[in-house]
Symmetry: C2
Subunit: 448 residues, 2 copies
């Protein structure tokens, strides 16, 4: 990794690396431990005067970085771009949106991002969070790491941080962190879309963390420990667990199925297409603002599926709505899964083979001024509602160079035949800063 | 498998089998398709006169039973005992409790269990649900299978059915299904325990289904399709997703960690100990009632962990509360993880090495008249609460020959030091009938 490489030319941190000692070295450069506030999060408001440090209990963490299997990739944390964007989509998600505490200021934000950087750099390498002292810590202090991932491999964990519009100034215009002038012009609450049924408590947020891994316990462990470290400075506003990825971000991955039973994300931006990735996913070095070069924009939409209605729809109607066949995933204009849809094709009867309001047509770059999205969504089931129906759907996430890509496509989808079967209930947008260089922290180009 | 073998001598269906044609044959014996009511569930109340069957679309399911890897076991569905009890605990859970519809009668219950048996026997073999016609069904009908598991292997899926106390008669004494006289005497709502904080909507139920798999999408697919088939006859009362097993049920499995960060279930009943399994887990042939021989009792407890408080407790206190060390899982009386705890051991100061109110002491068979449980719990995170804290904990499940085993142990735990950090919010109990023989259905000994 060359920390001086420009954001446009440097690849994202997606190559699998060994869990070697060098990983531990890499995490030790700037933040050699948590800040006093981060340590405070570990003990809470009620505790004081604890002895922190000491050698006892060091054995506790010995198993942390052991036992790797084929799916147990370890991705570098530091780099020109944050990991977790073009990284081959892992199987599981824990996503959390945070609000800064009332009264927190610029220094608190910087310190929090430094602490988060320190802890994320360790956890993504399969290492325990420490307080800067011995692994395992003192028996007289609360453990710095909550422990449920002890003995588990890194499981491909990536931790990706983002900044919401309200971080730059509140709706009242208050510039809490002295960064209002740095707000990307396009980073504003998304416009209202046709059919939106948004619940404020399921959207928005000052900050976000996306934790993806091939083991849900590893993703949950990451969000839990980062939330704990944030104690007194930021707390979770909303969160989401996802159990099955609904997109491939690499040509090496099989296309998964969403809860409508269809293959999803066949035409997704893939990391191997470097030109498309540079063009559509990452903010360029000549884009504005400069601090966001090498970063991206993330849109999240919690989309509840009305699966009972869908399940009672006949197969040919399901396929008409999507514009693909259900078994193979081929466009209804013919071919196989990866055949480009032919929107001019007609059936014998002279009607379009792919309906005018089919999802695949309205989401396609050809009807959206060439815009595409790198999708990274997950299936979710949040229990059931009072009528005994599964509360299930798609937690949609897309990364794009500009929010206008998402907005344009979402407006096209106003006519989508699929709308009868879905309801958007949560919405958020975040600016995703570039990756941190070793010795620095995520967000430094904005705040340093 | 010998369907005539007695329930005491026959092993549970836990040997991994090939996804061979014989599996498909096995599922075709009695229920060669869904009942008319089961088919009705596939189309819903609004649809009528659909053409069901036909050859088109048969290709859709072709990939279903392909692609097996090392962890992709396939367990037989039919057998003297239900699978999913001593089966090596899979990584993921989707559990659902159902209430029968108002007005449903004995014939509805029988038909539902026959439909569920038919569909479960297929899904556990990695096969699609069909309506009895061609795989994939007609384009003019809703697909019989919802499709999100197409192309996925069986992933070790087991589906385990149970009967709640209210199935045998309501609290008002109404004998809806003509089985009140068959109610196991011990199958009654659990007594109130010290510290219970139960919410009725998170417990109870006429019927339950436990779906365990190594892929959450496979477990979710099973519950979703069985719920759909139940349409008009039964609906979900409550449900629970679990993302990480917290017990081993086989000596071949590593001990996992719960969200307190401790290894859990070290002393669990393991399937390899046939004598203990027969003695403690399964109802014997001389027990009462006779129809339950080869079955078991399942207790579920949704236990919310107060993880923020726990996380601020110092390491030595955490270890004192559990009675084991956090890193290795060894009892505080010394040794390694699998060393038996020595409750007589004292520290130099003359105090017990394992505290008198340590969890490991109070849960141990030696203080519970030799009773043990086969635990099969899962970690859960159900998002976060309004204070920004993770809504997380343990979905405890235990199988035992008699509910009195659980009741006795839970009463011992009234003094458990761990109680300061947990809250029981959901509770249910179910009689688990023996396995179904090929050509029959789950529950036939009770209802046939």
């Amino acid at each position: 990794m060359n920390p001086d490489a420009g954001p446009d030319s440097a690849p994202e941190n997606t190559s699998a690396a060994e869990p070697a000692e060098s990983a531990a070295d890499a995490t030790g450069s700037r933040p050699s431990g948590l800040s006093r506030r981060g340590l405070f999060g570990l003990v809470g408001a009620g505790a004081a005067g604890l002895v922190v440090g000491g050698a006892a209990g060091a054995a506790a963490g010995a198993a942390a970085a052991s036992a790797s299997s084929q799916r147990d990739a370890i991705y570098p944390f530091y780099g020109a771009r944050q990991a977790g964007i073009t990284t081959p989509a892992q199987d599981r998600l824990h996503f959390a949106s945070y609000d800064m505490a009332a009264g927190a200021g610029r220094d608190d934000l910087i310190e929090l991002l430094q602490d988060w950087t320190y802890a994320a750099a360790r956890m993504t390498q399969g290492l325990e969070v420490t307080d800067g002292g011995a692994v395992g810590g003192s028996p007289l202090a609360p453990p710095a790491d909550t422990g449920e991932a002890l003995g588990l491999p890194a499981a491909g964990l990536t931790i990706t941080f983002g900044f919401g519009p309200t971080l730059f100034s509140t709706d009242d215009g208050e510039d809490r962190f002295g960064i209002a002038a740095q707000r990307p012009q396009l980073l504003t609450r998304l416009p209202r879309f046709s059919g939106d049924s948004l619940r404020p408590e399921l959207g928005g947020g000052d900050l976000c963390i996306q934790a993806c891994a091939d083991d849900p316990q590893v993703a949950v462990h990451a969000i839990r420990n980062l939330s704990r470290i944030a104690f007194g400075r930021a707390s979770i506003r909303w969160s989401q667990l996802g159990f099955g990825r609904t997109s491939s971000t690499s040509t090496s991955q099989l296309t998964p199925r969403n809860l409508f039973g269809f293959k999803d994300g066949t035409a997704n931006v893939k990391s191997e297409d470097a030109k498309l990735v540079d063009d559509q996913v990452f903010v360029g070095s000549t884009d504005s603002p400069a601090w966001l070069a090498g970063g991206s924009y993330l849109v999240t939409r919690k989309i509840r599926m009305i699966i009972e209605t869908w399940d009672r729809t006949r197969l040919e109607e399901q396929e008409r709505v999507i514009g693909r066949d259900k078994g193979e995933g081929a466009p209804l204009s013919g071919g196989t899964e990866f055949t480009e849809p032919d929107f001019e094709a007609e059936t014998g009867a002279g009607t379009p083979a792919i309906d005018t309001d089919a999802h695949v047509r309205l989401a396609h770059p050809t009807v959206n001024k060439g815009a595409s999205l790198l999708r990274r969504g997950y299936n979710f089931v949040d229990g059931n509602d009072e009528l005994g129906r599964l509360d299930a759907g798609l937690f949609f996430m897309s990364y794009q160079r500009s929010p206008e890509q998402f907005i344009g496509i979402q407006r096209s989808l106003a006519a989508d035949a699929l709308n009868e079967y879905i309801k958007h209930v949560g919405s958020a947008i975040f600016a995703i800063p570039p990756g941190a260089r070793e010795g620095s922290y995520v967000g430094a180009p904005l705040l340093a």
